[in-house]
């Protein structure tokens, strides 16, 4: 359980980091970026990752910020989950994102784990990628050719794989604030609090004239990436909220899942069952938060 040897560089700026990565790529040297290390160091320790060089981002203090600009909360990639958890701005303006943060591992993991690291890691059972999809976040990515912005629904490609190229850096995560009147819910089922979820859900919806509008229903832990449950969303759009309707949406959502993951934690069938339960619970809670009541 000790890493294989590697070389270590600590760039002073994001631009320097990116040109380092480009140079290594050109020279055929395998380099990996290190942020909080809470996913990457276990991989090093288990020798599942054996890079030639580790590029440590710890000096990039300019990528540590949380600020609101024009209805978007811009979060620097090196901001820790502890900083998100302790941010009043996020608690007030984006309570769904805040609530999901508290479910990530344990406090001691959140002390060092970063927002950018969770997005880049793209673990299929992780909270942030699902919330990114549900809220329509955007990822700002820096390369030697400059910046580009990738919406969440194009960012997560498959297990542990995102749009970020090996020569690029994720620099900012852009989180829309929760619009007034939007109901939300974040729920997950895990064996123990702090474990990765078996299945979880992130939901937003609005109630206009007594019917559900603009639903966003995203599940995680069910596939290679978080999944937007479009059939469940159509099932409730334009309908008056009711326990029966939401149970139906759960059924539709579960049916919509192609082949839920199966692993030591849960079988595919169990995950399909949990998908149903989570969709229903999330819809009930989001409706209440939107000021509605469920018949």
């Amino acid at each position: 359980m000790k890493p294989a040897p590697f070389d270590y560089v600590v760039p002073e700026t994001a631009e320097e980091a990116v040109s380092c990565l480009q140079k290594y790529e050109d020279d055929g040297i395998e380099a990996t970026v290190l942020a909080g290390g809470q996913s990457f160091v276990p991989l090093l320790n288990m020798r599942m990752a054996r890079p030639d060089v580790v590029v440590d981002l710890r000096k990039l203090k300019t990528l540590k910020y949380i600020r609101e600009e024009d209805g978007v909360i811009a979060i620097g990639a090196m901001t820790t989950k502890r900083e998100v958890e302790e941010s009043e701005l996020i608690q007030q303006r984006q309570p769904l994102f805040h609530a999901s943060t508290l479910e990530i591992g344990h406090l001691q993991i959140r002390s060092r784990g970063t927002v950018g690291g969770s997005m880049a890691q793209a673990d299929p059972a992780a909270e942030y990628p699902a919330v990114a999809l549900a809220l329509g976040m955007e990822m700002k990515i820096l390369g030697t050719d400059g910046e580009r912005i990738v919406p969440a629904d194009e960012f997560f490609i498959t297990y542990l794989t995102t749009e970020i190229d090996s020569t690029e850096l994720l620099t900012e995560v852009r989180v829309p604030v929760l619009a007034e009147g939007t109901g939300w819910s974040f729920q997950e089922l895990a064996r123990r609090h702090g474990d990765f979820a078996i299945v979880g859900g992130a939901v937003t919806l609005r109630l206009d004239g007594g019917v559900c509008t603009d639903p966003h229903i995203v599940l995680f832990g069910v596939g290679a990436t978080p999944v937007r449950m479009t059939a469940a969303e159509s099932a409730i759009s334009g309908q008056a909220p009711s326990a029966e309707l939401f149970a139906q949406a759960g059924e539709q959502g579960a049916a919509e899942l192609e082949s839920p993951m199966a692993d030591v934690h849960a079988s595919a069938e169990y995950r399909r069952h949990l998908a149903k339960v989570i969709i229903k619970r999330c819809l009930l809670e989001a409706t209440e938060r939107a000021g509605g009541s469920v018949s």
């Binding site: 590697f6 580790v54 406090l107």
Partner: protein
């Protein structure tokens, strides 16, 4: 490749310098280079919490931090709980009195997680205690005596504060 790097940092209030290969974990550096063997190493992937220390005021996993990442930081390890006369900290006293340990392997991590909890929240509820210690595993006690220990530690620290 992987030449040693110089590291200067503060540990338990003392400025120290050392050298480590980039691949050396902070936990190994503390134990093998700085001879601070109070920090224990269990799972080496962040799950068990035995290696928990304070870094710049927050509890962290020293097995998931490279020694080179600790450059310029302020650390506190379980050794730092002792006062200048080598007397045990009230948290340690409480763990003894309430039998918060049996084999003691996980104890340094529990003590450090408790330390951060009580610094930020001097009178925690049982739920707060469970939340703060949820990332530490113990295979002996069944946890109830640990929770009691933390409750007692909170009382001891509060009465010490009102006395002084």
């Amino acid at each position: 490749m992987s030449t040693k790097k110089r590291i200067s940092l503060s540990v338990n209030g003392k400025l120290l310098e050392g050298e480590a290969e980039p691949r050396t974990s902070l936990a190994d550096f503390l134990r093998d280079d700085l001879a601070l063997i109070g920090t224990h190493i269990g799972c080496e992937h962040g799950v068990c919490g035995a290696c928990t220390i304070m870094m710049d005021g927050q509890a962290v996993r020293s097995c998931l931090t490279l020694a080179v990442q600790a450059e310029g930081t302020e650390l506190m390890t379980v050794e730092g709980l002792l006062d200048e006369n080598h007397q045990l900290h009230p948290i340690q006293e409480a763990f003894i009195e309430e039998h918060g340990l049996q084999c003691g392997f996980c104890t340094p991590g529990f003590l450090m997680s408790t330390f951060e909890l009580l610094e930020k929240n001097p009178s925690p509820s049982d739920d707060d205690i469970k939340e703060a210690l949820g990332g530490n595993l113990c295979r002996c006690t069944g946890y109830q005596s640990i929770i009691k220990s933390v409750r007692l530690a909170a009382q001891k620290l509060q009465s010490a504060n009102t006395a002084s």
